[in-house]
């Protein structure tokens, strides 16, 4: 089945959706990447504030929960012109899908109309569990102390999220999934300080989720890559100066199979389009 070129970026709060879109826009303006700006978008309201903040050497702010903004950017990819619909929304919406176990019309339309999904996961923030299957031996606590026990694990939340989104789209799991094509982007890659591949990192941080994706998608219909949209945090004046001196479009990279430090961020879109 032919998949359309509509892309949906899915990510819980703080996974870097807005930062990536702002950086992507900078690269498109630069016209050096695989994807280039064809003509100026009518408005860039959705990413303007993030784009401006990065230009000032500031970190982007989180998108308000109820925001649903869309920026339509006309782009050229390999001689073909089309419109890239960049949807930015508050990541809380994604968290609520699983927390409330319900979705609204917006999300039904989003999941149905976009045949290419990009799932943003921030691996450095995935909480690791320490239990008997890892530790080996522990004394039983006879008092049944109710010391603070955290909620559901991040790993189970991501599995549930994908199950919910597939349900909203009406995609069954009886057969292997071809559409939606799934690109898993491990964001804030710089935080990991690792030489491992994105696939290894996902397996290490969320083995059950990795198994879940591989068991349900056709091998050629999903891919795992790494993204560092910002390259480093903008916490010190020194780092901010770098952004002011050399400009944001010179920072950020992708971790791809053929290049572990690809500076052309537009290739993330290309990777999704060629799945």
């Amino acid at each position: 089945m032919e998949a359309n070129n509509e892309i949906l970026i899915i990510g819980p709060p703080g996974t870097g959706k807005t930062t990536f879109l702002a950086q992507l826009y900078g690269r498109l303006l630069d016209k050096k990447g695989k994807l280039q700006l064809a003509s100026a978008p009518e408005n860039i309201d959705g990413i303007k504030s993030a784009y401006n903040r990065l230009t000032d050497g500031e970190e982007t702010e989180s998108t308000p929960a109820s925001d649903n903004l869309e920026v339509k950017i006309p782009v050229i990819h390999e001689g073909r012109e089309f419109v890239l619909h960049c949807k930015d929304y508050g990541g809380e919406q994604v968290r609520d899908l699983v927390a409330l176990m319900e979705y609204d019309k917006t999300w039904i339309d989003r999941t149905k109309m976009n045949d290419r999904w990009i799932l943003f996961i921030r691996p450095a923030e995935i909480e690791q569990r320490f239990d008997l299957s890892k530790k080996g031996y522990a004394e039983k606590d006879q008092k049944q102390s109710n010391s603070s026990i955290s909620g559901p694990s991040d790993q189970s939340q991501f599995i549930e999220l994908v199950q919910v989104l597939l349900h909203a789209r009406g995609t069954g799991m009886k057969g292997l999934i071809e559409t939606p094509r799934l690109l898993i982007a491990l964001t804030c890659w710089d935080e990991l300080r690792t030489d491992l591949t994105p696939k290894d990192i996902l397996q290490q941080k969320m083995p059950l989720f990795t198994q879940f994706i591989a068991a349900n998608w056709l091998p050629e219909a999903f891919k795992i890559i790494g993204v560092s949209a910002q390259e480093f945090p903008l916490k010190t004046d020194e780092d901010r100066d770098k952004y002011l001196d050399e400009m944001p479009q010179n920072f950020g990279y992708l971790v791809l199979e053929d290049n572990p430090k690809e500076k052309d961020l537009t290739r993330l879109i290309e990777e999704s389009l060629t799945l």
């Binding site: 319900e102 299957s133 080996g136 522990a138 039983k140 010391s147 790993q155 189970s156």
Partner: protein
């Protein structure tokens, strides 16, 4: 979103036609409009308009919820049988924890679950706390209406299988073993009637503590499981096997002999929640091995061998074997 209801008695608008106007235009009805004021606007702020709820909640499933799965095949139910404290729920907790941390059931790929919260809740009992201890899992409620079905969608050779682990309290099973018609053992009866395979738990710790008495309970439950088994597979699970060396040999022998007579050819596996290293035979390999063994038995059912009963009659109607038979 708070659902609006009609104030008029006997009217079920908006679920049904308006009682007053006998039409779907309940919005125009005077009684319906009145209720509008009682709407709670605060709730609408978080929950979005026209939200569609998802048919599963993540909590364990009840028997009446199985239609959630039947559209894509027949779910296979694995019944966990064993006395109270034998480690049935702990086994499920350990199985999920092992999968969670990267162990795999060979040839059976995890393809999702509608009871993730249920699994998570049990797995938490194995989490090591800050003071280095683990919580004791709470006993499964012995309420006769208490069902907990844990779902796993597993893909084997490209085919999706829905597997449900049916857990209930051991107490209920003991009651059922003494009297299958005990009104307090409704869930045990349901599991026994509907399961496609069984995990039969033998508690090593109980054998150490209760010695010969433990055998009596095990044999009683085993005989009851056998009575209407109809060829369904049984896997014998010796739980808390890290303590196995403390069991009296003669009692172990007697139980083993009895079980091998009751379930001829059944596979036995020893499991434990404690491990010396990764991977540990009792903990890492055998806990997953129990799942693998029972799943493989479910996927490759043993053919039923039916011996044709010789016909003892002189009636020509029953004796007729067709033109071939007469040759």
């Amino acid at each position: 979103m708070a659902k609006r209801k009609c104030t008029k008695e006997g009217c079920y608008a908006p679920d049904d036609f308006c009682f007053e106007l006998a039409s779907p235009l309940h919005e125009q009805c005077q009684f319906f409009v009145k209720t509008e004021a009682t709407e709670a606007p605060a709730k609408a702020a978080k929950k979005l308009a026209a939200a569609k709820s998802i048919p599963w909640t993540g909590e364990w499933l009840q028997p009446e919820q199985l239609d959630l799965l039947t559209h894509r095949g027949t779910p296979k139910i694995i019944g966990l049988v064993g006395s109270s404290g034998a480690g049935k729920t702990s086994y499920l907790a350990m199985l999920y924890s092992l999968l969670f941390n990267g162990k795999r059931i060979e040839n059976w790929d995890f393809a999702g679950s509608y009871t993730l919260n249920g699994w998570e809740l049990q797995a938490k009992t194995l989490q090591v706390q800050e003071d280095g201890t683990v919580r004791n899992p709470d006993a499964t409620p012995s309420d006769k209406d208490f069902y907990s079905l844990y779902h796993l969608a597993l893909r084997q050779d490209g085919f999706l299988h829905d597997i449900l682990f049916a857990d209930s309290s051991g107490e209920v099973f003991s009651k059922w073993a003494d009297n299958v018609n005990d009104p307090a053992a409704e869930n045990a009866r349901w599991i026994y009637g509907n399961a496609h395979a069984f995990l039969f738990f033998v508690d090593c710790e109980a054998i150490i503590e209760q010695r010969g008495r433990a055998k009596r309970d095990i044999v009683q439950v085993a005989e009851q499981v056998k009575s209407q088994l109809r060829g369904r597979p049984v896997v014998i699970v010796w739980s808390k096997a890290d303590l196995a060396e403390n069991m009296r040999e003669n009692i172990v022998e007697a139980i083993k002999r009895s079980l091998s007579e009751t379930f001829p050819g059944a596979i036995s596996l020893e499991i434990s929640n404690y491990s010396k290293s990764d991977s540990d035979q009792l903990c890492h390999i055998n806990n997953v091995g129990v799942a693998k063994t029972v799943l493989n038995l479910l996927a490759n059912p043993q053919p039923l061998r039916i011996n044709p009963a010789p016909i003892q009659t002189d009636d020509f109607f029953f004796l007729y074997r067709g033109s071939n038979g007469s040759k």
